[in-house]
Symmetry: C2
Subunit: 243 residues, 2 copies
């Protein structure tokens, strides 16, 4: 029996998680990108937050850990959606150099399990010092990122639709506690990249008992004030068990 990694065709690899955290800002989905704390020649070092996994954690735990370091939030909703395993993903020597500095290991093969998570875009983030900056960037205007992170984001944007189909409640993690019908509609439009008729959308909302209208309205807007709604998780869960 050998314990090496070179003299047998089977190999050990490093395994990471990368998190696509989406937020919603008026019209567009945004994604949380971090800047590496280690120096690189150019400033173009925005990437998805992520980490190699620890010995005693599974990838769900690793993703929670990454998200907690990123936002300070303890239990974020998340979902594993795809693994990215091409040997080519470490084809860029700059990426490998950064990895080896960041993790003090020689790394020639790295696969990643990608996670999708959601966060209210105005939420104050409690950022661990390992990141130089953390910024929301609109998904339709992303910088070029290392590894296959651009591809990971694109896959995530398809995945969120499936997620919403199975669990519409997740959308409300992207909206303020009190939101208007227009905000919810624009969120649907951003997620599905599709326009929705205003009247039909109101009707659809009326059919969702778990979206409850409040008496409160917008203030200080230079047009007719919109009604606020809130998401009622108890009603939502009741409904789910019925179906």
């Amino acid at each position: 029996m050998n314990t090496g990694i070179t003299d047998y065709p089977f190999m050990q690899t490093f395994v990471s998680v990368d998190c696509v955290v989406l937020g919603f800002d008026k019209n567009r989905l945004n994604v949380l990108l971090v800047q590496r704390n280690t120096l690189t020649p150019d400033g173009k070092d925005l990437k998805l937050p992520g980490s190699l996994i620890y010995q005693r954690e599974d990838t769900d735990e690793a993703a929670h850990r990454v998200l907690n370091e990123l936002t300070g939030i303890k239990k974020m909703t998340l979902k594993q959606f795809k693994s990215f395993t091409s040997p080519q993903r470490t084809a860029n020597p700059d990426d490998v150099a950064w990895l080896e500095i960041a993790y003090h290991n020689k790394i020639d093969r790295l696969i990643t399990i990608a996670y999708l998570s959601l966060c209210k875009i105005n939420r104050k983030l409690n950022i661990a010092s390992k990141y130089k900056t953390v910024d929301w960037r609109p998904v339709d205007d992303l910088p070029q990122m290392p590894f296959d992170h651009n591809q990971i984001v694109n896959t995530a944007l398809k995945e969120i639709r499936n997620w919403v189909e199975n669990e519409p409640a997740i959308l409300f993690e992207l909206l303020p506690t009190k939101f208007t019908a227009a905000e919810l509609r624009r969120l649907y439009e951003a997620v599905y990249d599709k326009r929705y008729d205003v009247r039909n959308f109101h009707k659809k909302m009326a059919g969702m008992d778990y979206i409850v209208p409040l008496d409160e309205k917008q203030e200080g807007v230079s047009h007719r004030a919109a009604r606020f709604y809130k998401f009622d998780r108890i009603l939502y869960n009741k409904r789910k068990t019925k179906i």
Copy 2:
């Protein structure tokens, strides 16, 4: 920089693929299980076909390789659907002992990327000698399997529904080239675990232009002979681009 795996909390792991190959037999979905060629004390060593990944292949390639060794078929349709990463999945010492014999490596952490694939159940399989036996087993009567293979199959059975929604064509990989309406209906019933009304199902089929009725009928059956249909991929693709 170190190259070891013990003195840093980040670790290298072994990565495998495991394949859930589904087949359909009159009424039920079945899954292809293999028997390990290495000896174990009891005969209970049926498991999902799988393999550690090679150095220069991604997991899609590894899954194709496993499937080819299993069936002799070169290009099987497959889909990555979930990774299983719990450190507990190697909690059973028997499983680890088998792994280390099979792969001549000390293995304490093993994650797997699970794939779903489909095969006509009557297809003659060209089985590589690495497997002692390869058998179809109905999914509602599976033996206890090593690692988390039972859980992987259960997850696969949920996943196939999503797959069918996005790509109905895959269902026809489970049926003979010529099939009857009842066969297709029973396949839907097996996949969705739900009964379908016969008349409504015929109407639904009539709406799928890519299912074309043939003049041929069953022969030698002791009841009214059923019409055969076939799946027309060209019509199917035309339809897809229209939507």
